[in-house]
């Protein structure tokens, strides 16, 4: 049962999100008026044909930002509750690193992005990399019951994979290295047509699956022993959590780069602002706040004339949020 104040925040949040969305359509090097933007969005024609391409590109990156931000925030929320650790996030299980390894293999191996086959190769390799780490985690999790130990194993996977990527750099030429490094800075730009539809559909389906986690997550705040005594099937929950967070983190990482901080910061913001303890309410708010933060970050990137990389902006916004919550947590929880 959502509290009244939460509903008010939800409505305000949706308005702010819409505002951010249209701001991201409006700003940019080429100034296009509101009336022309709306004409283009409703399928009409304006004098300058090239404007439709500009608006389409602004529209696409905004939509990608919304979905990527939501996905990362949801990942972070699920992992933080599961590991009962406010510092858990999509990066910590090594899944992001796994995806990075896949991408590194293809990009540093000399296959260039931009061509259709090249893109397809990068995407498949990234997803394979993420699921390789995921598979390993599933195998290891059969032997490890303790969530914190699993978290440490995930961290170690991450370090190990990063080391492998560093080894790959040894063989790569300068252009490929540059391409990989640029991908690593993160960006919501460049997705279109089939690729974008695939991205949106897969993320939406996975997010829908997270509703099976409402009861388990509600119970997990007490710890796994209590959750089990409340009738929660721990094995099924663990499996579902690994699959959902794995798919979401892999998709976003492959398409947008290893975007940092959104996954850790957003769930903490939600926990501070939202009264309800039911994940039926918390999950939508995590999606909303994640989308908003990602859009805000993209707007900042674009206001800087694309000079600032996405990961720099997310760190600038995210790190203070995390520090603030840690201080607040220590005074209240410890």
């Amino acid at each position: 049962m959502p509290k009244n104040k939460d509903i008010l925040i939800l409505i305000t949040g949706l308005f702010i999100l819409a505002g951010l969305f249209f701001t991201n359509l409006y700003i940019g090097d080429v100034s296009i008026s509101w009336s022309e933007i709306f004409t283009l969005l409703s399928g009409g024609n304006v004098e300058n044909d090239s404007w439709s391409y500009i608006i389409e590109s602004r529209f696409n990156r905004s939509v990608v930002a919304i979905f990527a931000g939501s996905a990362l925030a949801l990942c972070g929320l699920i992992l933080q509750v599961y590991f009962r650790n406010p510092l858990a996030g999509p990066g910590v299980l090594g899944i992001t690193s796994g995806a990075s390894l896949g991408v590194a293999f293809v990009v540093l191996g000399g296959i260039s992005a931009g061509t259709f086959l090249g893109n397809l190769g990068i995407i498949s390799a990234g997803i394979i990399g993420a699921f390789l780490v995921l598979g390993l985690l599933l195998v290891v999790s059969k032997f490890i019951q303790n969530a914190v130990t699993l978290l440490v194993v995930g961290l170690m996977f991450g370090y190990f994979v990063s080391a492998l990527i560093n080894i790959l750099f040894l063989w790569a030429n300068l252009a490929d290295t540059r391409e990989y490094v640029v991908w690593g800075l993160g960006s919501f730009e460049g997705l279109q047509n089939i690729e974008m539809s695939l991205f949106l559909v897969l993320i939406s389906i996975t997010i829908l699956f997270s509703f099976f986690l409402i009861r388990p997550l509600n119970a997990m705040v007490l710890g796994s022993e209590y959750a089990s005594s409340l009738g929660i099937n721990l094995k099924k929950t663990k499996f579902l959590i690994i699959i959902i967070t794995g798919v979401l983190a892999a998709l976003v990482t492959v398409y947008c780069g290893p975007v940092s901080f959104i996954g850790i910061a957003v769930p903490q913001l939600v926990r501070i602002i939202i009264k309800s303890k039911n994940h039926l309410v918390i999950i939508p708010f995590a999606l909303l706040f994640g989308a908003g933060l990602a859009l805000l970050a993209d707007i900042t990137v674009r206001l800087s004339g694309n000079a600032l990389p996405l990961n720099t902006v997310t760190a600038l916004i995210g790190a203070p949020v995390i520090i603030y919550t840690i201080i607040k947590m220590n005074s209240r929880f410890a």
């Binding site: 049962m1 933080q80 509750v81 009962r84 650790n85 509703f211 099976f212 409402i214 009861r215 509600n218 119970a219 997990m220 705040v221 007490l222 710890g223 022993e225 209590y226 089990s228 005594s229 409340l230 009738g231 929660i232 099937n233 926990r271 303890k277 039911n278 994940h279 039926l280 209240r332 929880f333």
Partner: protein
Amino acid sequence: MLELKNIEIKVSSRSLFKLGELKLNAGLIALIGRNGTGKSTFLRTILGEHKNFSGLIKLDDKNLADIPKSEMAKLISVVYSKPDIFGNHSVKEVLLLGRLPYQNLFANTTQEDLSEVNRVLELLELKAFADKQFSILSDGEKQLAMIGRALVQNTPIILLDEPGAFLDLVNRYKLAGILKKIVADSNKLVIYSTHHIDLLENYCSGVLLIAAKLPQYGDNEMKYLSEVNQFLPEIKRTFGL
């Protein structure tokens, strides 16, 4: 309520202890045994979490192995020694978590859930704490809230694994008093493991004693003591005190 027959509880291939035949009905039962003799494992076995045992365990005439997890959550609730929660839940919200077995996929709170929470808040005299944040409470208050959470789960059996481990002397007496009150109030079977034998005579109706001949394992057995005046002498004799 709880029926055990020819039980042998094991950890990997090692036998912890054996138990002949035992039927437990409503009452406050203490579980006594030295460190490592299998108190927690015994509780986890009844919960269906520890499956490495031979023999027959029946809950309300149903075989333990045949009871699905969702049903189990309506038969047995638990309290562990260290109360700890992730998030800024109020005491009321902690209690509400006990209603989970009765909620649907979306975990919507019903009027019944709320009235059950209010009933327990009153029973345990927790009304004044209801809106306080759980994490700022003292260990004693936290444990009381966790017992409240178990009560809200509304099960005929409550198992507590060393609920008094982190409590001071006064709070331990208070805890035992509350457990006794719960049994008298609602006819539940409450089993709690403990190392504090000073309270047994005044509060408990029975004692489950793991008579372990440490350090050698092998032929340990669990005894049931039902004579109140035998509790202390028998425990001391068993442990060679």
